[in-house]
Amino acid sequence: MQELRFNPITGEWVIVSTATQRRPVRPSNVECPICPGGMEFPDVESYDIVVFENRYPSLLRNPPEVESNGIFKKKRAFGVCEVIVYTKDHNSSLSRMPLGQIEKLIRVWKDRTRDLYSLDFVKYVFIFENRGKEVGASLSHPHGQIYAFPFVPKRIEAKVEAMRKWYEENESCPVCDVLKNEDGERTVYENDSFIALVPFYARFPYEVHIYPKRHISTILELSEDEESDLARSIKTVVMKYDKLFDQEFPYMMMLFQSPLKEDVDHFFHFHIEFNPPKRDKDKIKWMASVETGTWTFINPVAPEEAARRLREVKV
């Protein structure tokens, strides 16, 4: 079963996708499925960066027809789910990859954004990486994912609406205003075009946001110089994370671009969020009832303190 179901209590769409990995798969003597020669690349000796459509996607280019019934509203599960393999090196990571490779990755993100938005059913392109078993990543080979949604997801909509409201009241974008008022206390890293900081409103103990200093709403607008500044920002943040507790730091990295097909670019400021689940070396900050049920986060570490610790990690 693959379909979208509407929840009239919260106004959100749920993807029901029961495709399971039961189908037989050609066996391979390379254990990692996304290494060259692995299950996904049986005849490939090497590659640089590869994007491929998920073997068991939750959203489909040609989803089955559905029928709604009154309050039980359904929609076809249009969309695309892709995997981005960052490099052929199984043991690499954003912290260990050469900068040039991350710059190339940014160009791939751009190409995917443009490509996927050209599909008529795509309303939002979401680029992300789950790293570590703590956030459910099963493969350690460096990779990220892309979901091209047939609707603007709820939290994106919340961001759009909050930024719209701020803009209407202040005639400026809230991220631009944050940047005008940051005094460095929460800064983790900074270069000519980007700033990485633990935001004033961090929800997770070591949450870091990367904001472009120039008001842009999608990565499509990045210049060549900005691409390399962004690559350096991402690498530095992940290097600091890895050294913080001397372990591969788990995180969710998410790119928030504006919904390109709507006219919201004037107030939507592109940003990257790192949401790491760790509160300490051996402690996890769980998404429990309060967080999941009420969308209210209790952050046990003061953002200023987290920023100081991350700032002091020398990389």
Binding site: V50, R107, D111, L220, E221
Partner: protein, 540 residues
Amino acid sequence: MRIFGRKVSKEFFSIIDKNFSLNWSIEKVHLGFSVKGFVRGKPGKVEVLRMDAPKRVLAGGWQSWSNFKVLDTKGQTFKSRDWKYRDTPVPSEKHLSDYFIAFEGTVVGFLSSRFAHPYFEVEDDQIVAYLDYFDSYFEEYIPIEPLVVLEAKSTPLILEIYSRMIAKENHVVLRKEKPIGWSSWYQYFSNLEWPDVLMNLEMAGEFPIEVFQIDDSYEMDIGDWYETKPGFPSLEIIAETIKERGFKPGIWLAPFSVSESSKIFKEHPNWVVKENGKPKVAYRNWGKDVYALDLSNEEVLNWLQDLFYNLRKMGYEFFKIDFLFAGAIPGERKTAESPIASYKRGMKVIKKVAGGAFILGCGAPLVPSAGLVDGMRISEDTAPYWDAENEEISAKYALRNGITRYFFHKRLWYNDPDCLILRDDSRLSKEQRKIYALVSGTLDGLIFLSDDLRKLSEDERNLLKKALDISGGKPRVENVMDDSMRYEITSRGSRSGNVHLVVDLESSEYKLEVDNSFRIDKREKLRDDGRKFYFYGEVS
């Protein structure tokens, strides 16, 4: 600012006039406010808003062919051109603009034209927005055309937002495909002959053409669409021949027009819009008086429905429907319906029967067509020469409208900047042809060729390729309020990256920059299980 003669406040108001009653309220919208309401009775011409006139406004007429440009509000007197309805259905010396006006960071505009015609006049130092319901009478309350006043720091931004609001108000759903095509008009005009069609069909496979469209030329008379001129095969055979060569058959027609000499007019003299009980001349063209079909008449609508049903059945997949304004001219109709409501009725019939095909509007009232066409001509015809006196038909002024009306694109429909003329035997210089192609590409509109395809050299084919390569982005005219004919156009995320194009329509000079920040090698592979794989960067 005064609305319906009152000071603006956030309340609900009503007006009871001897001829009509009107309820209205003000609501906050993103970056401004809207005026909405309901009216019944015989409203005629209603003043909606009155404000101090800014010095200069971006303004223009109601339909595809009307100029859209910066105007001085002082000393501006409207001059009706040879065809009265080329500019507005409500010509007067005070006329300034139809539907909306823009000035530095502000748009004042109507979001729909369902029953009334919305427009702006200059009265002394003031601009007045009106809704004209003509002579129509409404038994029940109908919604008035909503008006918005929007403000932001940037004029292009506010125009884009306004355009999106019109789209939402009219439930626009953009069509999936934006075809590339060929049209016979700017090479052959009305002298097209069947062998020209066959020859170009043979050549068309060498170009990325999907739609092959026969323009004005094949028909016996305006209105007698089923009958082809001597030398042409039947409409069925025309469609079949195009389809056999692997292209989508496209055809031109002026579905709301009938000429004085046509059989249809002779058989049904009562099917047309009248004035003082006599058929009213909507316009003159082809050396003839042309009348407008009365789209409030069910018999006419049935005929229209049959026409498009039959054309679809013959295999036509692209309709360039022209001189559409005729359907909306003021005059006497069978019912008391407003000209605008009649127009929309006719357009809905076409969409209902032919909606599977691509519908390109031309010579069409803009706002009433939102949601009823897939593509829209947003300029007067282009021409195989650059300039003309009094801003008459020429490539330069067609292109200016393509630039100044860029913000409709992909919000209301796909903009049609009119065909590219690439061949080098016209009076257009190489630079002028380049400018037309590159601007059209950057602005991402429809790309149609209109040349004898044998004449296109390697250079000209490459220019077409270049225009397509820089399309696909999100375009913006940064200085749309500039009246110097020098425009700065950007496009984010085109097929080749971010585009920056500065073009001077006066000197025919341009500077095109496409950044490198998109360049990456990509090889696409389709797996046996149907999944797509993209190998980026160095591939070994």
